[in-house]
Amino acid sequence: MAQLDIVDVGHAYAPGVAEERWALKPLKLTFESGKTYALVGPSGCGKTTLLNILSGLVRPSRGQVLFDGVDVTALPTKARNIAQVFQFPVIYKSMTVYDNLAFPLQCRRWERARIDAKVHQVAEALDLHDRLGQPARGLTADDKQLISLGRGLVRDDVAAILMDEPLTVIDPQLKQMLRRKICEITEQFRPTVIYVTHDQYEAMSFAQEVLVMKDGRAVQQGTPEQLFEAPSSTYVGYFIGSPAMNFLTVDRNDGHFALGGRTLSVAWDIPHTTTEVQVGVRPEYVKAVTEPGPNTFPGTLRGVSDHGAQRVLEVEVAGQLLRAKTPREEGVPAGEEVLIHLPRAKVLPYADGQLVLQS
């Protein structure tokens, strides 16, 4: 396992492009040894470019890639000592499961007995030990993905395991099982893992640290909890969480903030240069209440979406749409006119789209 450092790395696919339009804008990142990371974002956000730079498939236009402090920027894939699980399962179709797992070690000229012991250990963990003699081509897609993972795990010294949307071609019913298996295995072997996906669900379930990307930039890095509770920008608030976080524009006069003429009781310190101040609040924390009180605002119920265990209320407050997620058992407020409560501890200030941290 190794620590991976990305120092001022940026990439443009065509030379001479203005930096604003690079596929990956120069950034600095550290992937600590033995931790799991997820790169998440919509297609075209630069996550695959970043992964390809780590694997050596793409040589960055600028900056350095360090593995445990050693500069590997110029090294080809083969010399980087990484492992990768691809979107579409890749196995050596002429070989058995055993030979597939043993292949990286055979390439490194390990002794036979040592290979044998290692392959059995990994196969055991992957639950493939009873199928070692079978041809790998006959396995299902999810088992093939496990083999891919296993080819990385057999190597003691692998610097990092890269996973590129590994669940894409897996049946929906099997996705959860494979996800579970991958989690168990990383728990057991503790490799450095970098997992690329567009699916927040996968990213948050799998990784200790999630990196949200957009337009070639890393917009926020943090634990799943941080991304949920304190998204650093309106984009992260939109991208993480379902339904997306609510953002309502508020009026400000001398340090006080108001929504539709009613005071928002918060103590925010926001720079005066800001043009637009928004209050951000997760739909989970918005409540329909019956009694007026601090931070309650009148609204009009525009629609109810039944998701099963929860309902999503769509409420118009001060001319803006606000979603509230309520447990089914709480029912739906009677009538169109509703009162909405925004808990003080859960509302966050956003100045021109960026979270303003309050001390």
């Binding site: 694997s55 691809f86 390439c107």
Partner: protein, 292 residues
């Protein structure tokens, strides 16, 4: 799908019937004529039962030509496959002047075999052709290319390899170009070298295309006769004669129609059976069934 039952036949039948009608008469005619004693002095459709077949079975010239064809076809197709695959691999990826090489390597298969065989005949001319000129340049002795049996076979094989390696090249290059790149990435990641990558990744991935290409070439090669006609006329003696060419002599030059009919059918059956068996064996050897 209701209502489609009528339509589907309208799509299929014109082509199927056309081919069937073109093929069925010759086939029936050949079967019938093979039981007749039709020849140049007796051009009648009489009935002599299986006499022609008995004669063919004892015709050692026919059987020699069959053996020769099998060796020629097997040998040239193998050489074509090895060279074609090798060249496809060389111009597959980073190579300078890629398009130029690809076009050049395709050209021979686009040319008319008999026409080029005529040119090859001048090349192999013992005193005036460049083949011996080249040998002398390399310090070797001249070879009577087309007048001695061994060299004549080599010449014939050279022409076949020249003419049809491009066909292998075309199919194999198309196959290589359609391969996904992930398996190669995976092999690089696992630390496999060039040799191992070829045998464990490229070759297995190319197995279906390879089998298809080899079988197609074997089918075409089993009909070898045009170039023989132009290049050596089966000679010297009958040392480069293929069944196709021998049939031409019997049936068309000497007009032994009945006899050649029996020979045709035997040849056709032998080739169909052999090719079917070879195709099945190759398919099984590379476990091509039931896998995508």
């Amino acid at each position: 799908m209701d209502g489609l039952r009528r339509h589907k036949s309208m799509f299929l039948l014109p082509g199927l019937l056309t081919l069937f009608l073109i093929i069925i008469f010759p086939l029936l005619f050949t079967i019938r004529v093979s039981f007749s004693g039709w020849n140049v002095s007796n051009p009648y459709m009489d009935f002599i039962a299986g006499a022609n077949y008995t004669a063919v079975l004892h015709d050692s010239r026919f059987w020699a030509s069959i053996t020769r064809l099998i060796l020629l076809a097997g040998g040239t197709v193998l050489i074509q496959y090895v060279i074609g695959f090798g060249m496809a691999l060389l111009v597959w990826r980073d190579v300078r002047g890629r398009r130029f090489w690809r076009v050049l390597f395709l050209v021979p298969m686009m040319t008319t075999p008999v026409v080029m065989a005529a040119i090859w005949q001048t090349i192999f001319h013992e005193s005036l052709g460049p083949a011996n000129d080249l040998l002398e340049l390399l310090g070797l002795t001249r070879i009577p290319w087309l007048t001695e049996s061994g060299p004549a076979l080599v010449a014939l094989m050279t022409v076949e390899v020249w003419q049809w390696t491009p066909f292998m090249f075309l199919l194999l290059l198309a196959g290589l170009l359609s391969l996904p790149k992930e398996p190669f990435m995976a092999a690089a990641i696992d630390g496999a070298g060039t040799w191992r990558t070829f045998w464990k990744v490229t070759f297995p991935l190319m197995a279906p295309v390879s089998v298809a290409a080899v079988v197609i070439r074997l089918i075409e090669a089993s009909k070898l006769s045009d170039s023989v006609y132009v290049l050596t006329s089966g000679g010297p003696g009958s040392s480069t004669e293929t069944p196709g060419y021998y049939l031409y002599i019997q049936g068309l030059r000497d007009q032994q129609t009945g006899y050649s009919g029996a020979m045709s059918l035997l040849y056709l059956v032998l080739m169909s059976v052999t090719l079917t068996v070879v195709a099945a064996l190759l398919t099984r050897a590379f476990k091509l069934k039931g896998d995508s």
